[in-house]
């Protein structure tokens, strides 16, 4: 009954709005749409041995995210995005939902100061506020784009911005002297609201100022403070995490080449003030960081070299929060084997499942699985890392490529005086075969790899020798205009041992998990994709998914999947 009323309301609301939009141009609409369906079927040995799991399962839905923009004046826009979602397999609205997905007001005051209220997207620097990409996502073929789009869209991941609620404002002022311009930006957001008998409200304040000088020099300062409000809860511990960042950068053009360099540094304080009766105590850690970055760019290539030092006690909730939650229950076959074991999050879930992703900042370092990313699990701001990185990019007429190398070391050993040495090497190449072979139809070939090596000396308990390798390849061939035959493969191998950390509620290491890895995973894909535009396409594909954990023979999963997605982003 309630659902029916919702529909009636919506029909009246929408029809009135449609009429209104026809007579008043101050209201306009846009929207995104998606139809998605997948069906997984057990295959391989597990199909015979696992007699408790369903032989196949799947789900799908259609969703329309209708954006309504209302401009009461030329300076103000009110934007709401309403999601209408209908799960497949239900009738008469029982599996249908109408949700408010986004609501914001933005405008400009006096043609100088812009503001944004409600749902806002925030990003500063890689050390203060930055939504780092999920592991293994950078080095994959574009034929997996439909999965990536799904994950990013459903989790509000827009580039590396964090989506939150609050107010943001900025303005810039242009000078005509040694100072070219000044930009100021500030925000206040509520990261976590009131929780019944739970933690206090978590708020976040921050600001940036950028000063552009003559002679191509830029100075910038960033500040962010995440803190809990004690009066909003009976919890005895209250969190605070201010982080500072200052930057200076310079660039110069010489003979069609651009050279630039940037130095940045800063510090963080992270504390929990605990109250026990009349007694107060503080759990506090302080740490700093430093990064030097230089870049040389020509018409076809760029070379980056950088060095960073991030103290073991550097903590930044805005920059160290991870996307993947490894404690999640995966959507497809969350339990498997006759022992009904919870299936661990694996490459398949990282690549395809939007439900294992996080949308909220975390006040402690989230768990990570070193198997899928041990070198920089918390992005560039990963604490306890020092070392150099280099990136080479090439963009040619029929070939583009990238090589990225990280050579890092721990600053202080974890559980031992010996320190980890960490290496990652990522390479990717895209070849426009149609240009090489001079064929009429588009033919793209992509291949990429990502390697991680972690080592540590010591006795049999302390020693670490871990290697992982991701190989990804994709081929797309245009059968006729806009319709492509796509095929791709991702294989991931991890072997060796690593040591994970167990932390208490105040982020202190209290124990370790000794991991031994010997696993192989792969996702194979073949299908058709029709692109109306770059952001509007449908993809019909079949996948073969393999997961074999050789350390535990009963942990083997083989699935075949049929996957369909229609994606429309306007």
């Amino acid at each position: 009954m309630k659902t029916k009323h919702t529909y009636l309301f919506f029909v009246f609301f929408l029809s009135s709005q449609l009429l209104f939009s026809q007579i008043d141009s101050r209201v306009w609409y846009d929207g995104n749409s998606r139809a998605m369906f997948y069906r997984d079927a057990l295959a391989g040995d597990l199909k015979k041995s696992d007699t408790t799991s369903a032989r196949s399962n799947g789900e799908g839905y259609t969703a329309i995210d209708l954006g309504i923009h209302f401009n009461p004046s030329k300076e103000i826009e009110i934007f709401s995005e309403i999601r209408i979602k209908n799960d497949f397999g239900y009738m008469w609205g029982s599996g249908a939902y109408v949700d408010l997905r986004r609501l914001s007001v933005r405008g400009i005051l006096n043609d100088r100061v812009s503001f944004n209220l409600g749902d806002i997207y925030l990003k500063q620097t890689e050390f203060t506020l930055y939504n780092n990409d999920q592991e293994l996502s950078k080095y994959e073929s574009s034929v997996f784009q439909s999965y990536n789009d799904l994950i990013n869209y459903e989790n509000f991941y827009e580039e590396n911005y964090w989506r939150t609620q609050g107010i943001q404002s900025n303005f810039s002022y242009t000078f005509y002297n040694a100072i070219k311009s000044l930009e100021l930006d500030g925000f206040a957001s509520r990261v976590r609201g009131n929780q019944w008998l739970g933690k206090p409200e978590l708020l976040m304040l921050g600001g940036s100022s950028i000063l552009r000088l003559e002679n191509n020099i830029k100075l910038a300062g960033h500040y962010i403070n995440s803190f809990e409000v004690q009066s909003t809860s009976n919890d005895s511990a209250v969190y605070k995490n201010p982080v500072f960042n200052i930057q200076a950068s310079y660039y110069k053009k010489i003979n069609n080449r651009t050279y630039s360099m940037k130095i940045e540094g800063g510090s963080s304080l992270r504390s929990w003030k605990k109250t026990n009766g009349s007694q107060q105590s503080i759990e506090k850690s302080q740490g700093g960081y430093f990064k030097f970055f230089s870049k040389a760019r020509t018409k076809k290539s760029t070379i980056d070299l950088s060095f960073k030092y991030v103290d073991p006690n550097f903590r930044s909730a805005g920059a160290q929060t991870r996307r993947v939650i490894y404690e999640s229950s995966p959507s497809s076959y969350p339990y498997f084997t006759n022992n009904t074991v919870l299936r661990p999050v694996s490459l398949m879930d990282i690549t395809t499942d939007p439900n294992i992703y996080n949308q909220r900042l975390s006040t402690v370092l989230m768990n990570f699985n070193p198997q899928y990313g041990a070198v920089n699990p918390y992005g560039e701001a990963t604490p306890n890392r020092a070392g150099v990185s280099g990136v080479y990019n090439y963009i040619g007429n029929f070939l583009t490529g990238e090589i990225k190398l990280n050579l890092l070391s721990e600053i202080i050993g974890q559980g031992t005086a010996n320190k980890r040495s960490l290496l990652s090497l990522g390479t990717s190449v895209v070849v426009r075969l149609d240009k090489v072979l001079k064929t009429k139809n588009k033919l793209n070939f992509e291949i990429s790899s990502y390697l991680e090596n972690v080592s540590r000396d010591g006795n049999s308990i302390e020693e670490i020798d871990f290697h992982s390798r991701l190989l990804s390849a994709g081929l797309s061939y245009e059968l006729f205009e806009n319709l492509k035959l796509i095929s791709g493969i991702k294989t991931f191998v991890s072997i060796g041992n690593e040591v994970g950390t167990e932390r208490d509620e105040y982020d202190k290491i209290i124990g370790y998990s000794l991991f031994n890895f010997d696993s192989e995973e792969s996702i194979q894909l073949i299908g058709l994709q029709y692109n109306f535009t770059d952001d509007i396409y449908f993809s019909l594909q079949t996948n073969t998914i393999n997961f074999v954990d050789k350390m535990s023979l009963d942990k083997e999963l083989k699935l075949t999947r049929i996957y369909f997605m229609f994606n429309m982003n306007l």
């Binding site: 202080i412 050993g413 950390t501 290491i509 124990g511």
Partner: protein, 336 residues
Amino acid sequence: MKYTYIITTIVSLVLFSCGKEGLEGPNLNDLYGELNIESTLIIYGDSVSFADQEEVFFSAEFSKIVDWTIKITGISSQSEKIISGKSNSINKNNSLWAGDVTSLPFFSSEDCSVLLSFKNHDDSIFDILNISSQKIYGNGKEVLISDFENGFNPNFTNFFQTTCLKKIEIGNAGEGTKFLRQEGTCDWDWLIGYVDYPKANWYQQEVLSANPDNVYFNIMIYGDSTLSPTNEANSLFKIEFYEDENQDNYYDPNSEDRLDLEFNIDWNGWKMISVRYSDLVLATDPNGGGVNGNAIREPNKVFKVRTLLLANPVSGFAKADVDYIIWSEDSPILEQ
């Protein structure tokens, strides 16, 4: 620009060497490493005379920080002392022993087994330690009511049901060699029996302090709830303290206070019950007296102590042997 890369390289090399000393988190070897005994257990102060304030300590060294326990067991008394710690070495600072006890009875002059064991490790080391004279408890202000070493004082008036037992036993005492055995079954009354310990008949006749915050009553009780038919705590023990407020050598329930302590005997073996006089409760039964006095706790005016063994007549059997009934000042007797 060439200089940029030279600077980068130099800065990298400099900062690469900027490692910190120490480690983050608990030591891996302590959690997962093998335990090796680097230096075996040594007892310092064998044939110790605790009565002369001598002390014993132990030494040993291990390859990692570990939870260790030294269990000292009197071979004849079966008394126990547990010393434990978490470290990679045992030394005087963490293993000094002055002869006190963790589990009653008291140690006597005897040989003791010493067993060093470790949490989560099967390794253990065994040795023998001799006690030439046991620790004497007290700070000189204690007042002994009775330890039954001279038998049962006939002036300790008492009553026990005909089906119940009150008897001095020799051997397996909490202190010394003798104790008072009290047990039995009474299916018509809660009372198994009681014993009065009038002040005039206490073993020591020193006057107790008047400060109730400073005076402790101590009694050693042997419980054995496994003897109960239902294998559960069935014995109820009550101690009554009668004050002669007007010092006329007579307790008048109409004008003087009685203070009580009551508890279940829910343990097996000897246990020392110690209670501060100021923590005793005033008796609330008007017929039993105790509510008509000045309601001031006055340990220096205690006229008589009565111990009662009670049990539900339905579930029958009860047992509570007693030994070493003693007043102490400043702290419970076992802490002295």
